[in-house]
Amino acid sequence: MKKKLTAGISASGFLANLVAVTAMLLVFSSARAQVVDTTKADQNLAAVIEMSKATTTAPVLYGEQSKSRLLQAVATVYSNQLTTTPSPQFLQALPGRLPGLNITFSSGGPGLDGNGMSFNIRGARAQVILIDGVERGYQSIDPEQIESITVLKDALSTVMFGQRSSYGIISVRTKKGDIGKPQISFTAQTGFETPTALPKPLAAWQYATLYNEARQNDAGTVTVSPQYSQLQIDAYRNHTDTYAYPDVDWYNTVLKKRAGVSRYNLNIQGRAKAFRYFVDLDNMKEKGILNTSAVNKYNTNTQLDRYALRSNVGVDVTPVTFMQLNLFGRFQRYNQPGGGVSGIFSSLLNTPQLAYPVFNPDGSLGGNSIYQGNANIWGQAVTRGYQFQDVRDIAVDLEVTQKLDVLTRGLFLKVKASNNNTAYYTTTRSKNFAVYQYQNNAYTKYGSTTEQTTAGGANDRYRVVYLEGTLGYERAFGKHAVSALAIANQQNRLLFSSTNLPEIYTAYSGKLNYSFNEKYIAEGAVSYGGYNWLEPTKRWATYWAAGVGWNLHNERFISRSLPFISNLKLRANYGLTGQANAGYFSYIQTYFSGNGYWFGAGSGLERASGENAIATTGLGAEKAKKLDAGIDLGLWHNKLTITADYFYNQFYDLVAAPTLTTAIFGVGYPTQNYQRFNYWGTDISVSWRQSIKAFNYFVTANFSIVQSKVVYNAELPKNYDYQITTGRPVGLQYGYTAIGLFKSYDEINDPATAVMPSAPRSSLRPGDIRYLDRNGDGQITIDDQGPIGSTKPTLYYGLNTGFSFKGFDFSVLVQGTLNRQGYYSGDFMNGFGNNGQNNAYEYNLGRFTAATAVTATQPRLWLGNNTNNTQTSSFWLRNNDFVRLKNLELGYTIPEKLSRKIGIPSVRLFANGLNLVTWSEIFDMRKDLDPEAWGAAYPIMKIFNFGINIKF
């Protein structure tokens, strides 16, 4: 073992060390486990403590707050709700679980960290994810490590975050091991994933038929010779000669039906005298859906392989000194084909089934002058070598808490330091391949086959250092209870791979919570926040928030007359928050020096220098005034709980480019603080829990409604009211209003019909989109563009329910959004884009033809560009509400009597899934799309997963 431990710092050595350390821990812990009498109560202690924590305190930005005195709008989910989601990304577990948080993913599968994740909190963009109070790579964590995830939504909950307090925060806490006797938990799970939807291209003969139709459509009334003769179409259809007339189902050729996922997790936690610990080792493997070839000795499929290790150890150094040391390490490798996986998905989307055969008769890769070397999709998947990206994280948090009761009772001092290092390295071992066109028994070569080349290097490397000092005070004097915090903290992020100076956020903050008789509560917080990339005079700003609350259930008139009310709190808070949004020292006027001009007959390059965009002098942080009013209600011993919040957030001084500008200025204008947007709405969550003998069940539902308005946008005068964005919802889509399709040439040539000058009548055909002449001037111009998007409030919701009965447990989460729209445009929708070279889809069969003039829902077909039909218009803006059966888990715990026989106190078998069923409004238009991700992205995956959990 000693030998293993000194195996060095290479990748394999690192893994060997992990294994060795884990083995040691295993031995150590199992030895302890044997001497400790593990009772059933202990096994459930984790859940019990979690539950009791959840019912009495809530995690807040710094520390915890007893729920009875909580005035902030926060929502929390705990570990047991996260581990039912079989995704490598814990964030995948969040949609639908937290009111106020809207989180979406625009791609799926194994891949780079994040998978196009974006989230907003109460409608406004949000960016900050904290892990144990420090902003760092949120990918670096597996769900088992998480104790809770809290979303901080209002001014009072975020104001102490200083210069980034405006946009809401997701705060993740890891487990610290405070559940008593040692417990070893081992989980092995494996499953498979499959795309929720894949585009369905047309069969070759249909493509050819529609191509001819599109070509004829473009020609209008003049008959043109078809591109594909009937003989050719028949050949495509009958597959008589698949070399000359290929019909390749590329999706099924290149992609597998499903790919495997697996995860192994071992964690040990416990608490002994003066010592508590949580140690977690996690291995996750997610394979991609690309087919591979046995010829390659290496893996060309996409694959994510992650090892994560966390060791959180807390020690009472003295009875009044507590030290917490958290160590975290991650080693992750993401593998993909040498040419990258994204190109494969765009080729899959764009390549018609008749483009070329996969292989020629002699086994070489098919292609032609359009699909030259490296184009063949099968080739892209298996003969371009491979590349991988390694990510390494190492993080250390040290926190020391010193009780200072010696000075005054309830006083404590806490010091925290955190150092996080992340590095991304890419290794590319790729090669190129030639393709051959087989025609008349001869081969024409396109492109060239090259030897594998190797390239590698570091990508992003960054270090986050976080320092925090806290002086806290918590004490009750009779009916008065006070808790106070004074915090100084600083986050310093240095991106080694750039030449930038570190980005430093600093805040000096204070908070005071006062409660009288557990009835009347008041809280105030203030923060003096700094951001070093802002101009010196604008670097610092003071933010504040204050709230009041009333615990009505503690009033006699309630407890006597309405005894079924177990909890009733009214609360409200208001505050001023900020958000730094400035470029890199953008207040300094800069000049460039770059490649210039070639002087001299022999042409020597002389460098050039000049002025960059004008400095943003006077630019300060963005601000927001935020109001939150809420009610917490618990009935019948909190069997039924309801939390509802109303918010009204006024964002102002938002940074945007000025509008009163002229190009005569000759250089880029500086951005300014001037936009004002309001967001308001409601978050509601309702929960019912009941136990009927051995049957426990719960139902939780949450709804969030967000509305918004542009209050001030420095708009230039508009010719028509409908062009004005001020007063309308933020981010509304503007464009032409489609009023159907032209049914006939008569309709097109009717002088009363308004058309676009850039798409004159001579270019229009029946089946083209007709637009509303909003201003009635007889032509379609930009003046006819107005709002075409929804002005309805955004609404998102989740419904979570489950039960446990004897050994069985079950939970299910349904998640969805309402009033959602998507803009569906581009070659993918129209078919035959890119000069007619691109693909067409089954959906295109519903196109306009003379026969379907009245019923057609899509425009006529065309090749390449079409000025008229590709304008931004309501035609392509579709309602896209969706509901997903997001997550489902079924578990069975083997009766302890049985499991004891094999020496294991607890064995639980479970099956769960992600994105199992999706219903979307967009399916009315086409069913081969996922409502959240479509086009050339790696598809969103549906996961089916099975596992076993063993606890000692």
Binding site: Q589, W598, I664, A759, P760
Partner: protein, 596 residues
């Protein structure tokens, strides 16, 4: 209690290192703000007598000189656009004149041809580009005296180079928009209210300003290199007296032209002069003559290969090219059946039948002349040799095979899978492509000048001769000097006889000069402006443009039938470009051009 305190004192020792850690971390590892940023004081360095940094500021102005290789529709950049390798819609400016149309049917260019342009959707809108050069020049002129120039001639040359370039960019503005705001040496602050109340100066004021600026600069520039010295001149490409004089001739010819002389919209002085004056033609002729009288330029013997050398007898003002780039322009232009070096041949430009018909016979007679010998069934035989240098037509030999533009031929296969883009007219543009009929392969180095792509020539000596002939003929009729200038070009072009019939009327000579400009300077960004300047665009470009369909019968015989290709949309308003709507919106005093 006492005992507890004693016991607890250990925590102090424990906390101490933590505090040290915290305190030492506060020490600054980095500067407060980045110090590597360039400042104006660094560029115009009070302590650097060489002024090297200030010198390269002027280099940036040169870099803004536009190139004409496929510059259209590539976004806002005037330089070679990186997307042009894949975007077949990027074409030369001539595709929006009566000389050619874009081959790619769906490209954005067709929107311009069909729908014209408007303040909302502008075309070739270089308003901002020009003013950014003017601003950069003004920053130099306001700051260069901070440098303690050791080299007294540099101190004089550099500001005058900036001045001359600034004048050239005003010329780029006025030929597009008419009169524009003259901002002098001002460098505005972003919040300067004057920016939003600028008014357009009259066309006349603009011309006078440009000319006076050029006159100011002309004798304060680096002296012209002799022809022999040009090939070794390390400062070749910098502004010289001859360039300034050539630009001045261009400006004065524009000012004398029918579009502005007089104003097409009476009462509006930013669209031209209040009344006609023949003296403006004289000024233009004199300015062209001044370049001729320098005696340092002449026609190159071989018109076709003159682009191969950057330093030659004929090039006057040009944009240097990046020698690190392949000359891929040839790939874009070559007919789609070639695929030289296995690269795509886009055949992006389709010259019109009208353009091809403009080339006379080798005997100098127009093809409409019954005595010219023109044979409609063998239309390319016996033509002006410049036709073969300018246009790929059916049967012409290139890279060891005849070009096949008959229906189904290699270069017009009518099959999108073989040729995604093919000619709309039966012709492809050849100018600037290698003309090596002895070589089976096309190579990027073939057209290079010792490894460099040719510079983009903006003014060459042939242009000066044609400008002279045009202005002189307009002012005083076709005298011997007019004949001489035109005949010199026709002689070099290879016509036999190259002489013109004697006794031509002024109007006959006008037509002849205009035709000669069209064919001699084809695809050099001249025709597009000329048909506007002469106010003939509505008649030659607002009408149907044609091409030819060539069918080959089984015995190999060819038949030619004309076909209409498109009728571009052209209105009187379009003689001047629209000013982007943004400019008139923010500044009520900024008048839009008439008709928009």
């Amino acid at each position: 209690m006492h005992c507890c305190m004693k016991k607890n004192s250990t925590w102090l020792y424990f906390l101490l290192p933590v505090f040290f850690f915290t305190v030492t971390s506060c020490k600054k590892a980095f500067e407060d703000k980045p110090l590597q940023f360039l400042t104006l004081d660094y560029i115009f360095d009070k302590n650097d007598p060489t002024g090297d940094q200030a010198n390269i500021w002027v280099g940036n102005l040169y870099q803004k000189i536009p190139t004409g290789y496929n510059r259209m529709l590539g976004g806002s950049s005037w330089g070679l656009s990186s997307s042009q390798r894949t975007n077949v819609g990027l074409v030369p400016l001539e595709c929006f004149s009566d000389d050619a149309v874009p081959s790619a049917a769906g490209s954005d260019g067709w929107n311009i041809i069909r729908g014209g342009y408007s303040p909302i959707s502008t075309f070739d809108d270089n308003w901002g580009n020009c003013y950014s050069v003017i601003r950069a020049a003004n920053i130099f002129l306001n700051n260069y005296l901070q440098v303690p120039w050791a080299d007294s001639s540099r101190k004089v040359w550099l500001p005058n180079e900036a001045r001359a370039l600034r004048a050239y960019f005003y010329y780029e503005l006025i030929r597009r928009y008419g009169g524009v705001p003259l901002v002098g040496d001002r460098v505005f602050d972003a919040d300067d209210p004057a920016l939003l109340s600028l008014k357009r100066n009259s066309f006349e004021e603009c011309v006078n300003y440009i000319v006076s600026e050029l006159d100011k600069a002309k004798d304060s520039l680096r002296p012209d290199a002799s022809l022999a010295g040009r090939t070794t001149d390390a400062n070749f490409g910098r502004m010289r007296k001859s360039i300034v004089l050539a630009i001045k001739a261009k400006v004065l010819l524009l000012a004398a032209s029918p579009l502005f002389n007089p104003s097409s919209t009476p009462g509006k002085l930013y669209t031209g002069y209040p009344s006609y004056s023949a003296e403006r033609w004289k000024a233009a002729a004199d300015a062209a003559k001044a370049v001729m009288d320098l005696g340092i330029y002449d026609l190159e013997p071989n018109r076709y290969t003159l682009v191969l050398q950057r330093a030659n007898k004929e090039h006057i003002f040009f944009r240097m090219s990046d020698p690190r780039n392949d000359n891929i322009y040839g790939y874009y232009m070559s007919p789609p059946g070639y695929k030289p070096a296995n690269r795509n041949s886009d055949g992006r430009v389709s010259p019109t039948q009208e353009f091809v018909d403009a080339f006379p016979m080798k005997n100098g007679k127009p093809i409409t002349d019954p005595t010219s010998g023109y044979d409609p069934s063998n239309p390319y035989a016996g033509r002006d040799p410049r036709l073969e240098q300018t246009v790929f037509y059916n049967g012409a030999k290139w890279l060891q095979r005849p070009i096949e533009i008959f229906e189904g031929g290699k270069d017009k296969p009518n099959d999108a899978t073989i040729a995604p883009v093919q000619t709309q007219t039966g012709y492809y543009a050849k100018k600037f492509c290698g003309n090596d009929s002895s070589n089976a392969n096309y190579s990027t180095t073939f057209i290079r000048d010792g490894g460099f792509i040719p510079p983009w020539c903006i003014i060459r000596y042939a242009d000066i001769l044609l400008m002279y002939a045009e202005a002189k003929n307009e002012f005083s009729g076709p005298d011997a000097s007019v004949y001489a200038a035109i005949e010199k070009i026709r002689q070099r072009g290879g016509l036999t006889p190259y002489t013109l019939p004697s006794g031509l009327s002024q109007s006959q000579m006008r037509d002849l000069v205009r035709n000669e400009r069209r064919i001699e300077l084809a695809f050099e960004e001249q025709r597009f402006w000329d048909i506007r300047r002469w106010k003939i665009a509505k008649s030659v470009y607002g009408t149907a443009l044609h091409g030819v369909t060539i069918n080959r019968n089984s015995s190999g015989g060819l038949s030619y039938s004309p076909k209409a290709v498109t009728t571009p949309y052209f209105t009187d308003a379009m003689y001047l470009f629209p000013i982007a709507v943004k400019e008139t919106q923010v500044n009520p005093g900024m008048e839009q051009n008439p008709g928009y």
